[in-house]
């Protein structure tokens, strides 16, 4: 492949005959002076003039920065996601700033020296939960990474946010692997059923489908698990791990919810597609509540021992079940997708969740 090296230019420039086309013949907006706001110079601060205009459909498939002067013979990068509505959300600029501002380190910011010895069954439960989380977290890096290079560079702010998600999920994978190995336990069991769900996300045919399954549904479930983990933490170590992960996860879910809202506002006819994706995805919620490797460690951590968890039975997981389904319905509603009439979940799972059972589809 020829990169178009201009040998003549080497000679001309050596003689001081500069081209200066880039200096004299510019069409990009000039004289721009973005003003920092109170936390510094944010993406919103530089979203001004023509630079703040994001095309509904990207006119080219190039890596050229949006708003720059672009030569006519730039190569086609082959992007497949070229419509703004496919990836955008109205909060994505702010979420990027927030993500960068609220980064943390699993090495430094967890008070590892404050781990306490736990009853062996409780330690095993914590390690099993950490195993599952270490397993599922990385798909939320793999999925955006799989799509990032297909997303048109004109939507660079959305791409940048997805890059923060990739980093967040690397840290989540890291912190749960570290927790499993830090207190006398080790890794537990990885199950085929969880792997099949991860495959469903990774193999989604469109970004829309994968984002609905992951950002809205899957990460919503994980957010609830983090919230429960923080509430049940046996030491400041687990409390800080789950709290910091919860903050990150809520950003990912906020993107997913607002992306779906943006998508449906632009094209309400897509609601049927999203209902279909979620019909299939909701089997995941059912799966979560019928996977011993998730249900039982959570129940043991909630109850304090295997015996206490067995005595409580399903009751030990009621808070988590209510939260997962209730928050999910609320997020769908905010996005403009009413799932209350068509949840694809067995009665035993939606039992007692306000607004869910009476209207459930057969």
């Amino acid at each position: 492949m020829s990169l178009g090296l201009d040998l003549g230019y080497l000679e001309r420039s050596a003689r001081g005959e500069f081209d200066l086309g880039w200096l004299r013949n510019t069409d990009s907006e000039w004289g721009v002076r973005a003003v920092p706001s109170k936390t510094g110079l944010t993406l919103r601060d530089i979203s001004i003039g023509s630079y703040g205009v994001i095309p509904e459909h990207a006119p080219r498939r190039t890596m050229a920065p949006r708003g720059s002067d672009i030569e006519s013979d730039v190569p086609d990068m082959g992007y497949t996601v070229n419509d703004k509505a496919e990836v955008w959300s109205d909060n994505v600029l702010d979420l990027y700033e927030e993500a960068v501002s609220r980064q943390w380190s699993a090495t430094r910011d967890i008070p590892w020296s404050e781990l306490v010895p736990l009853d062996p069954d409780v330690e095993h439960a914590m390690c099993q939960l950490a195993t599952v989380l270490s397993e599922v977290e990385m798909v939320a890096a793999d999925f955006p990474a799989k799509w990032l290079w297909r997303i048109n560079h004109d939507f660079v702010e959305a791409k940048m946010f997805l890059c923060t998600q990739v980093m967040d999920e690397a840290r989540h994978t890291e912190v749960f692997r570290k927790r499993a190995l830090a207190n006398g336990g080790g890794l537990g069991r990885a199950t085929a059923v969880i792997e099949r769900f991860l495959q469903l996300i990774l193999d989604a045919e469109t970004y829309d489908e994968g984002s609905a399954l992951m950002h809205l549904l899957g990460e919503g479930i994980v957010l609830s698990l983090f919230r429960a983990g923080a509430a049940l933490a046996p030491s400041p170590v687990e409390q800080q791990i789950f709290r910091l992960c919860m903050q990150d996860e809520a950003r990912h879910v906020a993107y997913g919810t607002m992306h779906l809202r943006y998508r449906l506002a632009k094209d309400p006819s897509m609601a049927a597609d999203f209902h279909d994706y979620l019909d299939r995805g909701e089997e995941m919620i059912a799966m979560i509540f019928s996977t011993p490797e998730i249900v039982e460690p959570t129940a043991i951590l909630a109850a304090g021992s295997v015996e206490a968890a067995c005595a409580l039975g399903a009751e030990a997981g009621d808070v988590l079940r209510h939260q997962i389904i209730g928050d999910y319905l609320k997020r769908c509603d905010h996005a403009g997708l009413d799932r209350r009439g068509r949840l694809h979940l067995p009665d035993a799972i939606i039992e007692g969740v306000p607004g869910a059972k009476a209207e459930v589809a057969a």
Binding site: S37, S101, R243
Partner: protein
């Protein structure tokens, strides 16, 4: 540091709480930016409700109140009885930063003794997004260091 002298709940109590939490500016900034309006609702024995507002704007935090919900327009309301509030704050005053059972998250996850109320999903999700900052503010009621370690 002694417990906050102003009576709970009162505007001066929340103002002093925020002053303590933000005294170490660098420590609070390390927790990151937050854009959020929290209504702290205290329900008296008679059922009377008093709302105090905490506004998070970048790195700034301001306390307002008592105010009413319509005027303050919170993203989310954290609501509990006076008894639940005084118990939570008393625990933090006596023991330092809240453990999991006495944290805002731990005390509201089951809907008792505190409830998290919001008009839409984005409001309640902000309660999760900024939990570290929010807990750091309430932990400032304690005699211990108010801001947890998320160092840079």
């Amino acid at each position: 540091m002694a417990p906050i002298a102003a009576p709970f709940p009162s505007g001066p109590w929340f103002e002093e709480l925020v002053a303590r939490a933000t005294a170490d500016t660098a420590a609070m900034e390390r927790l990151g930016i937050a854009e959020f309006r929290l209504g702290a609702e205290v329900v008296g024995a008679s059922g009377a409700r008093r709302l105090f507002g905490l506004e998070f704007d970048g790195y700034d935090i301001t306390a307002t109140g008592p105010t009413d919900e319509a005027a303050f327009a919170p993203d989310v309301v954290f609501s509990g009885s006076l008894e639940a509030w005084t118990e939570m704050i008393g625990w933090i005053e006596a023991n330092g930063p809240a453990d999991s059972a006495h944290s805002l998250n731990g005390l509201s996850i089951a809907g008792v003794p505190f409830q998290v109320r919001s008009s839409d999903a984005m409001g309640s999700d902000k309660f999760y997004r900024y939990m570290g900052t929010l807990q750091a503010v309430f932990d400032a009621a304690s005699a211990d260091a108010p801001v947890p370690a998320v160092a840079n």
